[in-house]
Amino acid sequence: MKLYCLSGHPTLPCNVLKFKSTTIMLDCGLDMTSTLNFLPLPLVQSPRLSNLPGWSLKDGNAFLDKELKECSGHVFVDSVPEFCLPETELIDLSTVDVILISNYHCMMALPYITEHTGFTGTVYATEPTVQIGRLLMEELVNFIERVPKAQSASLWKNKDIQRLLPSPLKDAVEVSTWRRCYTMQEVNSALSKIQLVGYSQKIELFGAVQVTPLSSGYALGSSNWIIQSHYEKVSYVSGSSLLTTHPQHLTAAVDTVHQSLVELPSGLGFWSKLVVVVFLFLFYLIFCRIIGRKRCLLSLPSSSFSQPMDQASLKNSDVLVLTGLTQIPTANPDGMVGEFCSNLALTVRNGGNVLVPCYPSGVIYDLLECLYQYIDSAGLSNIPFYFISPVANSSLEFSQIFAEWLCHNKQTKVYLPEPPFPHAELIQTNKLRHYPSIHGDFSNDFRQPCVVFTGHPSLRFGDVVHFMELWGKSSLNTVIFTEPDFSYLEALAPYQPLAMKCIYCPIDTRLNFIQVSKLLKEVQPLHVVCPEQYTQPPPAQSHRMDLMIDCQPPAMSYRRAEVLALPFKRLFEKIEIMPELADSLVPMEIKPGISLATVSAVLHTKDNKHVLQPPPRPAPPTSGKKRKRASEDIPDCKVLKPLLSGSIPVEQFVQTLEKHGFSDVKVEDTAKGHIVLLQEAETLIQIEEDSTHIICDNDEMLRVRLRDLVLKFLQKF
């Protein structure tokens, strides 16, 4: 049982698990931070970007100035952006049997794996994951393909030259394997290999392993996976969130308060009622504290839309692979949402525009929901909200049809029937408008000041590049970063100098370390495996010992291109005993509570399922001649006899012998035991503690008789 680690990125994992003759790939995340080393792809020709000076070596050698450009002290590759793929050399990827996808962010490398490695297996993912993943890929392909760039830099990737480059480029890993974006054709082909699954669906892999997706609470359709055989269980936790339980807790508490008010005996006075209520309220606050939430009552419902995480099913794992924790362990998502809203309102009131670089799905639903509640109270009802993405419409539509994957509150809305997300109403009232791109209708409707949601959060491609160029020079405008995947400073680097305000309120609802330790306490895995980043405090906050995984035994860590041998040994395998065979078994009690039965049966193995069937009846002897021959057949030495155990009490044995007609039995004592002599038959039986030896003339009848008498005293195994 081994774990091959193909990606070093803790939130975009790509691991391969070899387990019981199956090869299972867990997620295939695409590390897109590599694009930060590239110049942005402007939708409209940008004079500023095209006039950036080329970069030259310290000695003045300028042979790289076509490929590398310098902007405010940073060096960028002037080329089509390229992505850092998972390792493809560590393991033969054509042997991968299945790929399990946990959420739509973790499937972006799928076309590279399924289309270029000879992969022939199946991919398993939930329906929302596939649909939204498709949208993300479609957007990505669209962003890159619609701005064709002739130039493709490759010179700088040369190992000798890379050494000479300034910092981020110098340290970039595996640049030779960086690849350009896939095409839509490859995306479609990759997605066609996906098989849809539902939460808690048990999927048999070759009869050997069973995999099950569980709700992880993070995004629409996001899942954790259990990989188990009958005796071993591996849990794969990737991108989980406990925040979703919030609305239910809140309502539960409010209900309790309400009920206690109603049900209190009327004899109690007002004050006693009040005391009870205050007590309950305090209790609830403590409760919230315990589950790791602050500001429960005041916060906005962030990421409360997907089904709550299924923790119970993770219990009793032998190994728990833990990836996809929050990237901003110090930030509270609810606080960030509040900050987002207030900054947005502030800018707009001052006549500025707000730019929100975001993915077309996910956090944007939260933001829109918060804004929906916030707009009127903040006096923003006249401000237009634009959502620009090639898949904006699809994303908004898709979000409304996955009622089954939503949390309970949203489901009940669907039952009314109402659309689960309030952005339907925003669109209806024309407060939120969506466009495939800045071309076309958008230019007619465009009105400032406004709020624009658009991608890509790396600020390297997509419509966001245009708005950065457009609004960057005015300090009235604000760009608010909500996606935690990219460092905002690095993202902004090619736009420097920048006058517009930058607000960083990353919203990451994935598990933080407090929640992780609570989770681990609850599910009690025997071993924890996680990326090495989680076993030490983040480099920027090396004193924060609480920002790491703390468990017993210490978590096993992995890094890119490492192979871990997981620490458990398989001892048992399930086998089925057919009822007919079971009926023929006669158990006997050896010790109190322990019974034994010897089994002789035919083993049938098909599709990794083992069945024991009763042995076939010996064929009835047909004719005399054949029978004779049969008796002369050389016996098959593979017919095993049971082992024997026990010891023979000599006196009783002698008595038995006498009872069976051996009259002249003589017993001699020896050092180790006894010798029983049958003088007439010239036969000698040596009896010792753990052995019996019958020495006789070649008289088969006698031998068999003696054997049967001996066997009477022994137990068979």
């Binding site: 329906e127 539902g198 939460y199 669906q201 009958h230 539509e397 409304q400 049809i401 089954e404 489901q411 669907v414 029937p417 001892l571 048992f572 399930k574 086998i575 089925e576 005993i577 057919m578 009822p579 079971a582 009926d583 006669v586 158990p587 006997m588 322990i594 034994l596 039965a597 010897t598 089994v599 002789s600 035919v602 049938h604 193995t605 042995p615 076939p616 050389i634 030495c637 593979k638 017919v639 095993l640 006899k641 049971p642 082992l643 024997l644 155990s645 503690e689 753990d690 052995s691 019996t692 030896h693 020495i695 006789c696 003339d697 070649n698 088969e700 031998r703 054997r707 022994l714 195994f717």
Partner: protein
Amino acid sequence: MQGTAKALPGAAHGPKVRARRESGLSIPTLWVTAAWRPRKERGSQPGTPGSEGGSGALSGKSFNSSRKGVPGGTGLGSRTQGGWGPGPGRVLLQVQAPGRGRGPRAGPAWEPGLRPLHPPALGSHARPLGYAQAPPRQIRLRSVPPPPARVYLPCRRRRSRRCWTRRPAPSHRPAARDWLSAVQSEGPERGRAFPAGAPEAGAPGCACAVRAAGLVPAELRSWAVVGQAWSVGSGSAAATGWGAACRMPEIRVTPLGAGQDVGRSCILVSIGGKNVMLDCGMHMGFNDDRRFPDFSYITRNGRLTDFLDCVIISHFHLDHCGALPYFSEMVGYDGPIYMTHPTQAICPILLEDYRKIAVDKKGEANFFTSQMIKDCMKKVVAVHLHQTVQVDDELEIKAYYAGHVLGAAMFQIKVGSESVVYTGDYNMTPDRHLGAAWIDKCRPNLLITESTYATTIRDSKRCRERDFLKKVHETVERGGKVLIPVFALGRAQELCILLETFWERVNLKAPIYFSTGLTEKANHYYKLFITWTNQKIRKTFVQRNMFEFKHIKAFDRAFADNPGPMVVFATPGMLHAGQSLQIFRKWAGNEKNMVIMPGYCVQGTVGHKILSGQRKLEMEGRQVLEVKMQVEYMSFSAHADAKGIMQLVGQAEPESVLLVHGEAKKMEFLKQKIEQEFRVNCYMPANGETVTLPTSPSIPVGISLGLLKREMAQGLLPSAKKPRLLHGTLIMKDSSFQLVSSEQALKELGLAEHQLRFTCRVHLHDSRKEQETAARVYSHLKSVLKDHCVQHLPDGSVTVESILIQAAAHSEDPGTKVLLVSWTYQDEELGSYLTSLLKKGLPQAPS
């Protein structure tokens, strides 16, 4: 103890009886228990000759004594002794098969022809149509002493509650008397109306389980644990105690509704000691108590929650969920109710609608309230497609797409290795808005399938659609009005999509109306649950949602009197009430108009009447309505036809099939077909009749990997001629089962091996030296035993595998050599073979 076959009157011949016959058990006597209750009422029935009705109950003693003389009656007796007898005042009918038994005995009372009892028909299962006419052979009537307070069987400690017993009629049941008389006067309907003929077969005790498992009681104790292993092996928590051991290796199915009938689907399934109720529907053909299943059949004095592990609702049609609030709130059930998300969303709306019609329009009292519907829905647990829901440690259910209506699902119910698939209603051909039902090759023990269209093989969907459009078009052209009674959800949407596209293509101007209320809402549900529709609609919904219609407008009551052609979709679909009936009454008189019935109509509804050709209808208030308008029937209802049913059976590969939700006559046909084609048993129980299927679940144990690998290393497939045997020791400790090699077993138990060795002396006439003799023995054995490893060791001895042969000189006779052949018990066969071989002497050495 043999569980006796008991069934309700007229159902005494059924699959169960047949099954037993086939298993070679003769049943001289059939016990028929009728649930005529309460007794006083029964006694007061006019024309009931039973004198015992009032107070002529025999004492328990006399019952028992008479029982002794009755061959085959022992099963019942034991049950009575175990405290599980028929209820007080209930009547036991004993039917003796002709030619069997001992002939009529002097019973306390004869009751010839009290009820049209069907003959036991032991030899054949062919049921004459109708329940009546066939005179009973010999019927003896006795009343039975009331049972003790406890209904537990002594040996079934844990699961003793798990048996279908009866509970007294709930006090709130309104008019038991009227209902009873209705039952009596309406002979042929009895089976449907009165499901609980109390086929109290089953509930076999421990002994029964033991017998079925083929174990003798002495071995039972150790095997008690075998039952537990089953849950251990399947990864769930161990069940402990006797209960698990006493799992009955059988599956029992009793339809409370939908048995040889359409409507009021409600099927009880007992599998692996778990009781599951499938669907909880109402019957549209009745307006009295018969519309709901008789839940008192399940238990008479316990809480339903204790007797049922879960309730599963297949889809939102009222004949599958209509009795749910009554069942859960008025009768009282607090356990989980499983259904899919769309069903959960739509079900309460239809129930509320149904309630309104029943209470507000018809003024029924004692009906469930809106609050009850809400409370009932709170007990619902929604399931995803293909999600494996663990109801408890052992029972799991899984939903498959059924395609019949939005959110319709088939359910697999699984306990250990035993499973049942219930299809609900399904459709095997994709239509304009839903996909086709699909199930994997799950090989259930039993497939319970609907059989609405058991004998129909429909022509292609396209033809039907063309016909439909043509008829609508013609009527509209000649200025007639078209009424299409539909149910708000389901067919309505499909036909809307059909007409919408047709209107657009042909550019028609006649208005299409949709009766308001539910239907608008319904379309909205379709929009939100688009993942449940078919591939095409799902793919295009972002661009254009198919459920946003351009040509179809909301209907107002006043429009019905408008002149000119129009098409109106109105609810409900069987013309039994509501708007569709109102419009029908208005339009029925004009021969230009047309009504198209797109779905199945239950007996007793106006829809059924006009379809069967009735042209004069008696309406409420003795009005007679003459139907002049054209009546057309188009089979659009999304049930699988015979071909579809066969297809599904082929897909799932069940071990046996059980038909429900169809008409008996048609079922019979399909049953034969299934039995012919798939060579599986097919059953079609009537309401209240129990089908018992013995199962043989295999026992999962853990095999040590070492042993398994050693076996596997010798090649995968054992040849048929020389089967290779796996030898091991099964260790049963607490609740764990391990199969290990014998050596390991010894080691684990801390025991030493006892070596048993044999040494035989074989005398050979050979005057040569010992070494030469040994060499000759070696070459001889080498030539004979080609498959074995024969070695000549340097010390002069010969080994064959592990058998040692030494040659020694005879102490007295120098011309004789003594061969000492020594082997262990484990090599006994070979050793004894060798001695006999050597005894024959060696071939003459070529000297």
